[in-house]
Amino acid sequence: MIWLRLFIHRLCGLFLKRKMERDLEDEIRAHLDMQIEDNLRLGMSPEEARYEALRKFGGVEQVKESYRDRSSLSAVDSTLQDLRYGLRMLWKDKSFTAIALLSLALGIGANTAIFSLIDTVLIKTLPVKNPEQLVFLERGDVPPGPQRSLSLAFFEQARAQRETLAGVCTFVTSPRVNVVLDGQAEVAIAQRVTGGFFAVLGVNTLLGRNVTEEDDKVPGAHPVVVISHRYWRRRFASDPAIVGKTISLNGHPFTIIGVTPPEFFGAAVGEAPDLWAPMMMSEQISPGYSFKQHLNNPVNPMLARLKPEVGEQQARTLLTGLLRQTALEEIGKGIEVLSPERQQAFRQQNIALIPASRGFGGFASLRMRFSEPLRILMAVVGLILLIACANVANLSLARATARQKEIAVRLALGAGRFRLIRQLLTESLLLAGLGGALGLALAWWSNRFLLALVASGRSPVSLNVTLDARVLAFTAAASLLAAILFGLAPAWRATAVDLTPELKDSSRNAEGGARLTAGKSLVVMQVALSLSTLIIAGLFARSLGKLYTLDAGFKKENVLLVSTDPRMIGYQGKQVSALYQRLLERFKTIPGVRSASLGWAGLLSENWIKNLGTLHVQGRPAPPGAPNRPQIVGVGLEYFETVGMTILRGRSFTARDFDRESGQKAVIVNETFARDYFGEEDPIGQRFGYNAAGDEFEIVGVVKDTKHSSLRETTQGAFYTPGFGQRDTTFQLRTVADPTRIIGAVRQAAREIDANLPLYNIKTLATQVDESLVQERLISMLSSFFGLLSLLLAAIGLYGILAYAVSRRTREIGIRIALGAQPGAVLRMVLRQGLILTLVGVGFGLAASLGATRLLTSQLFDVTPTDPVTFVVAPILLLTVALLACLVPARRATNVDPVIAIRKE
């Protein structure tokens, strides 16, 4: 306990410092006076007495110092002292501090911003109890995709497996449900969940109760919903008496039974349903849901909670056994009836456990889409931080030279080298700490914007960045790393001083030369890194440009899209198409509308319908290897004209094609379809169909290929049938001028026909195309921004080193000018120095980039990783900026007055 007693005393000493100092002075004075008096009594002269007293006492200052060491926590005390001194030095050298802080804030800020994005999108676990026990179950023996889904039979078996699993559940999201509350209609996102959903997730309600197994036994029997905290706040103004209230979902009354806690957003990152209802209520929630079973077969996603005592390996083995058993039951006989290959495949069937925090694997989840771009951006901002550190290190080196004399004096007065290094490192840490704090603020501010960018895609994404411990720890680590990177070398260097020449002479000595070399290598590194980031930015910008100018096959300008689903408000069967017909007629009369049509899918809308049946072409066998599952799109009259698709052969649809009674089924196919099925032959007049005879449809025309769900896709075969269908649809309105101007008129027109009709996704086709490129745009914008940032930082570095070199060579330049050197020659001399550094950096940068850009291939579109344009333009840009950065110090060199320069030394 002795250390504790000392610690407390010393802690007090820290605060009583002034008083203790004064007391000690008094004590020492009293001591000396008494000694002097005694000495006088012994007969010494006053002067002698005083001298003798001081001699006997020993060094007064040393005593005070050792007293101070003991009186308080010397480490804390001297650190405080260092901090005060550091702050004073930083304040004194404002331009250095400003540039250093700016560099660091940008470097650390960029890193923090990207890291917090990664943290939110990729790292965060679900806000539920023991998220590590939650797994998605999938087939592990087949390639990623829908075929990994497991059967309903397996789901039922797994539900009964009480030893391995604490629970299994599944959920289906209905992105649009018409909610009517007090006569006001609104579209909300609903999730249908099996009874075990909340129990499996381990989420309790804030108010009321959860959906349970009891609610999910009989179809249509339990019209209950749990609402999200967000929805509760937004729509019900946090009404505490909400439980028991009735709302109407798609025309069916539902009772609100509970509210989820605020931190719970759903079972997958980026998803945020407003309401949860029992799966057995599917028919009410999801109109047109006509399956006999209320669960899809196969079941996807399948979310399970492992029992804590069951290891992952053990669970996998048990579940794999279960999988094979249910598969056998489905076959109904022994495995022997299968062909040898199928037996082999059967034996390889197994279950994969995907940690729930990673989202459902194999699907285009938010995590999957953004993990690669975010990793690339993280690497880029890492480079930025390095460049920023090099900048600060360079400035510190130059500053250390200016402080050489101060340091030499302090060393000569007996300051320890490590004490001085500590002092200099404290300054670095202080700088990095301030830079980190600024960076954090910068990241916090920019993150709203970044998130908006990520969330502006086609499917609704809900993300929430919070400043959690991980982000703070990351920023602290980045700042500390930066401080060590830029602080240690200059501190070590600065204190390794040969005292004599330093104190004698002012500054121009060999040491400065060595420092210049260090600075030069830093600048070369900066230029190389900066070029790499510029090249990365260039490649992404070129990719995005190619995607933008890509011919999607339709004309995106001046088209307004409006989606609706009348089934939400009770329309059925023929009523749906009749309503569509009336809407279409009404829309055409809106002033400014040139033409109007409708279609189910396509145009990069992320809706797609694939008929899974096999196509037969009349009079010939299915061609081997050809994709046999073309996309099928139901369209209205004038569809191709409205969206600007080109009919290559044959004709477009006419009103007669829409007359079902005529028995004619005309279809129009795209180029890829025609090529796949008919090669060079003329497809017009050919017949095909899903029936064995293959005579269901007759081809009347061929349209140019269009991009269907993504600009990056290779076009697939598709065919268009005339018909409105009895499902949700999207209207396309081609306008004379800006399509957003007619939105009000469109809403009004729809209201006239049915005031309750929900309209959603009202946007221009150009916006829809933009939204499909959100990931590409994010990475391109950010990498361009970071590329320019790195260029700026490198320019500052280059400017700094040249300005320093010129100031060191003032005397030499003065002599040259005195001996008759022309200003042009001096200018060229300095410029040459800067440009040589830049060229060496460019060389390294090009070599590194040529090797590294291969890693970006998967993110590029129609641009090779060694794209010649980028590899020429980026260095030219860099050289131009470098030249400008060099010009300033070079001009200064030509203005050196020889008389002043020579006299200065």
Binding site: I2, R5, L6, H9, R10, D23, L24, D26, E27, I28, A30, H31, D33, M34, Q35, E37, K56, F57, G58, G59, V60, Q62, V63, S66, Y67, D69, R70, S71
Partner: protein, 115 residues
């Protein structure tokens, strides 16, 4: 002639201060320093100043206490006195020093006989 003075052995100053205070009661820093010099017969090389950090340490350990008072010739001075814990510490340290010096003496005596 100035005779050869002994360096102060490490750790002994604390003991000397405690012993002095235990023998003489309340005393100021100068008095303690003078007393140590007298007892050692001026054989000890002592920078009087060094007793102040030592006094601070002893006080922090709770072995001595201090208060301001007035000296014989009307001077403001800090007076130190030994506490109960200090007496215990003194007894323990005295015993351990005695043992240590006995060992040293026993160690040195035979070699003296040999020469």
């Amino acid at each position: 002639m100035e005779q050869q003075k002994n360096e102060l052995l490490p750790g002994t100053l604390n003991l000397m201060v405690l012993k002095t205070l235990s023998a003489l009661g309340s005393l100021h820093g100068y008095g303690i320093a003078r007393r140590i010099e007298q007892i050692s017969g001026n054989q000890l090389q002592l920078n009087q100043g060094t007793i102040y950090p030592a006094l601070l340490h002893l006080e922090q350990m709770g072995w001595i206490s201090s208060k301001w008072g007035v000296s014989e010739n009307n001077r403001r001075a800090k007076y130190y006195s030994i506490t109960r814990a200090g007496k215990k510490q003194l007894a323990a340290e005295e015993a351990s020093w005695r043992r240590a010096s006995e060992i040293m003496i026993r160690f040195l005596e035979p070699s003296e006989e040999n020469t």
